[in-house]
C-alpha cells in the first residue's frame, strides 16, 4: 500500500506582513544589523506554514549563527572587494582608460564564488531544517560544486545555450544526490534531455531576435535610402525577443522544477509536484504590481512624516511641506540659515534610500514570495509514506559559517 501524503499550507498574509514589517523596522533602526535575525524569524514562519501530511516543517537556525558567519566572511570579502576592486579598477584605467574591464574581470572572479557560496548557504539551511524531528543535510562539497558549475557554464556558453538544460539538470543532481533526510540519501532520477524541449522556445527567442536583428542591420545599414522604418523597428524587435525569452525562461524554470521534483526519490519515498506555470506567472505579475504600488505609497508616507519632523526643526523648509525630506535629500539649499547641514542632507538621503529598499523587500516578501511558497507547498505530495518509519535520525551538522559569503552577496534573497 503506497501511502500518498499531501502537503497542507497554513499561513495568512496578515501575520507575514506584520512580521516582515516589524523586523524590517528593527533592521532600519539597527543600521541593517538586525537583518540576520529578520531573515531567521521569517524563515521560521515560512517553514512552519508548510505541513507535509499535517506536520509542520521546522527551521531551527539562529540569527547569531548567521551574524557570526557573516563576520567571518566579511573579513575575507573586505579584502577581496576593497583591495582587489581597487587593483582591478586601477589596472583597467591604466590599460583601457575605462573601468568596464575591471567589472568584467571582477564578474569572472565572482562567478565561481557565487556557486561556492550558494552551495554553502544551502548546506546551512538544510542542516537547520527538520520535519518530524528528523534533520535534513547536504554533504559538504561546495568547492567541487563551484568547479563543476564552471565547467557546465562554459559548455553552455560554447554551445550557444543548447547545453543550458544539461547544466540545470546536472547541478540539481549534484545537490540532490548529496542531500539527506535523516540517514536516507536522496536521488535525482530522470534525463536532462527531457528539459531540452521546454528550453527550446527560450533559445529561439534569443537567437531568433539576434539573427533577425543582425540581418536587418546588415541589409539596410549601407543602403543609401536607408529604410528608416525597418531600422527604427530594430529596437522593438529586440525588445519583443527579450520579452519572449523572459516569458519562456520563467516557464522553463517552472517546468524544470516540476520535472526534477517528480524524479526525486528518497528510498521508497517519492515526490509528486503539480506546479502550474500560469499560477506562478499570475502570482509574479500581480505580486510585483502590488509590491511596487505598496512600496511607493509607504515610502511616500514615511517621506511625509520625515518632512514634518524636518520642518519642525528647520522652519526654513516649511514652504516645501511634505516634500521637504525629498528636497533635502536632493541637496536643495544645504547650509542656508534655518536649513539642515550637508551631513543631515546625506543622512536623509541614505535614510530614504534604505526605507525604500526595505519596504520593497517587505512587500515582495508578502505579495510575491509568500504566494509562490504557498503554491509550491500545496502542489507537493509524498508517495510511499509507509517507508518513513525506516528513516532514522542523523547527527547535527554544525555547518559552521552559516551562510557567510552568500549572506554578504545576498544570494538567495528570497528567504
Amino acid at each position: 500500500m503506497a501511502q500518498l501524503l499531501n502537503t497542507e499550507f497554513e499561513g495568512r498574509m496578515g501575520p507575514v506582513l506584520r512580521l516582515s514589517l516589524w523586523t524590517a523596522i528593527l533592521t532600519v533602526f539597527t543600521l541593517g544589523f538586525y537583518r540576520f535575525w529578520m531573515k531567521t524569524r521569517l524563515r521560521r514562519h515560512f517553514w512552519a506554514a508548510v505541513r507535509p501530511d499535517g506536520t509542520p516543517l521546522e527551521y531551527v537556525g539562529k540569527g547569531i549563527e548567521k551574524f557570526t558567519g557573516f563576520l567571518i566572511a566579511l573579513v575575507v570579502l573586505a579584502l577581496l572587494i576593497g583591495v582587489l576592486a581597487l587593483l582591478l579598477v586601477y589596472a583597467s584605467y591604466v590599460l583601457f582608460n575605462e573601468d568596464f574591464e575591471a567589472y568584467l574581470v571582477a564578474a569572472v572572479i565572482a562567478l565561481p564564488l557565487v556557486y561556492f557560496a550558494s552551495y554553502r548557504a544551502k548546506r546551512y539551511v538544510y542542516a537547520r531544517t527538520r520535519w518530524r524531528g528528523i534533520r535534513f543535510a547536504l554533504e559538504p562539497a561546495a568547492g567541487r560544486y563551484a568547479l563543476v558549475a564552471m565547467g557546465h557554464l562554459l559548455l553552455a556558453l560554447v554551445s550557444l545555450g543548447l547545453m543550458w538544460p544539461r547544466m540545470t539538470f546536472k547541478l540539481e543532481k549534484f545537490r540532490t544526490d548529496r542531500t539527506f533526510f535523516g540517514d536516507q540519501r536522496l536521488h535525482q532520477g530522470g534525463k536532462w534531455t527531457e528539459l531540452l524541449r521546454p528550453f527550446l522556445p527560450v533559445l529561439i527567442s534569443v537567437w531568433g531576435s539576434a539573427v533577425a536583428g543582425g540581418i536587418i542591420a546588415w541589409r539596410f545599414a549601407e543602403s543609401a535610402n536607408a529604410e528608416s522604418i525597418v531600422i527604427a523597428l530594430l529596437p522593438l524587435f529586440i525588445f519583443i525577443g527579450m520579452l519572449g525569452a523572459a516569458f519562456f525562461y520563467t516557464r522553463y524554470r517552472v517546468v524544470a522544477l516540476r520535472y526534477l521534483a517528480n524524479h526525486k526519490t528518497a528510498g521508497g519515498i517519492g515526490l509528486i509536484s503539480n506546479l502550474s506555470f500560469p499560477s506562478i506567472l499570475g502570482i509574479n505579475i500581480g505580486g510585483y504590481i502590488l509590491t511596487n504600488l505598496a512600496t511607493a505609497a509607504a515610502t511616500f508616507a514615511v517621506g511625509a512624516l520625515a518632512s514634518l519632523l524636518l520642518v519642525a526643526f528647520y522652519p526654513g523648509l516649511s514652504h516645501l511641506g511634505i516634500f521637504a525630506s525629498g528636497a533635502v535629500s536632493d541637496g536643495t539649499s544645504i547650509g542656508e540659515e534655518g536649513m539642515p547641514s550637508a551631513e543631515i542632507t546625506v543622512f536623509f538621503a541614505l535614510f530614504l534610500y534604505m526605507v525604500t529598499f526595505l519596504f520593497f523587500s517587505v512587500f515582495r516578501q508578502c505579495f510575491v514570495v509568500f504566494p509562490t511558497w504557498r503554491h509550491y507547498a500545496s502542489t507537493l505530495s509524498l508517495t510511499g509514506g509507509e517507508h518513513l518509519a525506516q528513516i532514522r535520525q542523523r547527527d547535527r551538522d554544525e555547518a559552521g559559517q552559516a551562510e557567510g559569503i552568500a549572506e554578504a552577496f545576498d544570494l538567495g534573497a528570497a528567504i
Binding site: 518530524r132 524531528g133 542656508e336
Partner: protein, 398 residues
Amino acid sequence: MSAAGPWAPIPDGVRCELVDGKTAARHVVYALLRDGALDLSYTDEAGIELRWNWPLSHLRHVEGQGDLTWGKAPLGVYSNVMTPTARLYVRDGHLRAALEAEAPNLKRKTPVTGRGRLIGLIVGAMASVAFIVFALIPLIADQLAAGLPVEGERALGDKTYQQVRDSFGTVFPLNECTGAEGVLALEEMEARLLEVSDLDREAVQLTVLDHDMINAFALPGGRIVVMRGLIEAAEAPEEVAAVIAHEMGHVAHRDPTRHALRSVGTFGVLSLVFGDFAGGTVVLLGVNQLVNAQYSQGAESAADAYAHALLPKAGVSPGALAPLFERLKAKYGDSEGLAAHLASHPALGDRVTRAEAAAAEFEGEEQPLLSPLAWRDLQAICGDDKGDRKRKSNSVAP
C-alpha cells in the same frame, strides 16, 4: 496500522501526535495530564507499547512555533528539554490550553554558549575591517595613484564628473554652464593661471556647474569644477582665481586621484558591512566625498601654500582669498553646516591669517585678472537670469 488493531480498547487520555526524534515515523499517542507531568502512551511499529513521562517543567515551545494554527484552531507544538528532537503535536484545544497555563518553562530558550568567542569574533572582525579600510586601502590607493598615467587619470575624472552631475541633478544631469562669453572669460582666467604655474597647458580644465553651492572642487585628471554659487558669492574675479589656485594645488599634488581610488575600495567595503546590495550607499557617499572632499590637513596646507606661491606670479595678491572667507565667516559664523565642515579643514581663521601674511609679502603690482566686462560675462556664464537670482549660499569652503 498499529499492531493492536482497530478493536483494541482506546487508552485513556487525549489523542495527540508524537515523533520521537529517532525515526521519521509519527505516532498516535494518548496524552494524560496528571501530577504535574504529561503521560504519553503509544504503540510503535513493532507493536510494542511505550510510555513516556514528560514533567511539565521540561516542556518547551519550539522557537517560532509557539502559536501555530491548524485551520481556525490552535496547534500546540512542544518539545522536551531532555529529548530536544522529539515533538508532541497537540490539536486538542483543552489540553493545549492546560499545557499553556500549567507548564512553567515553555518560553525558556537554550542558553547561548560561546559568548566569549562571539565577542572575540566581533572585535576581531571589526579590527580587521577597520585595518583594511583605514590603513590598507589608503596605502595601496596612494601607491597606485602615483603610477596612474594621465589618460587613465582623465578617464577616471570624467567618470566621477558624470557621477557628480547625475547625483546633483534632479531628473537630468546637472547643467554645465556654457554661456559663450562666460566660457571665454573662464578660459582667459585658466590661461593666466596656468601660464605662471608649473603645470602643463592641458593639465587643468575649468568647468562651471549650475548649482547654488558655494563650492569648488578638483577631480582626478585636473578637472576643476566651480559651482555657480561660488561665482555669485565672489565680489571680484581675483577671489574666484584664488579658490581655483588652491584647487590647482590639489591637482598638482594629485590629491583627487588618490582620493577617488581610496573611495572605490572604501565604499565597496562599507556597502558590504551594511548589507546594501543595490549599491546606493556607495554612490551617495562617494559623490558626497568627491564634492566635499576632506583631504588631510597636510594636503590642505600644501594646496594653500601652492596657491600663495602661484597667485603673485599672476599678479594677484594671495590675500584675495581672505575677503571671501571673511564674508562667509561673517555671514555663517556659527551656522552649523559651515562650522561642521570647517572642523576638518585647517581653521578658517588660520587660513585667513596665512593668506594675509602671504599678501603682506606680496610686493608686485596688482593687475586686474579680468576686465570688468569679462568678469560680468563670467558671472553670467549660466545664463543672465541666474545672476540676479536671490543670493543663495552654502556651507562648503573651498
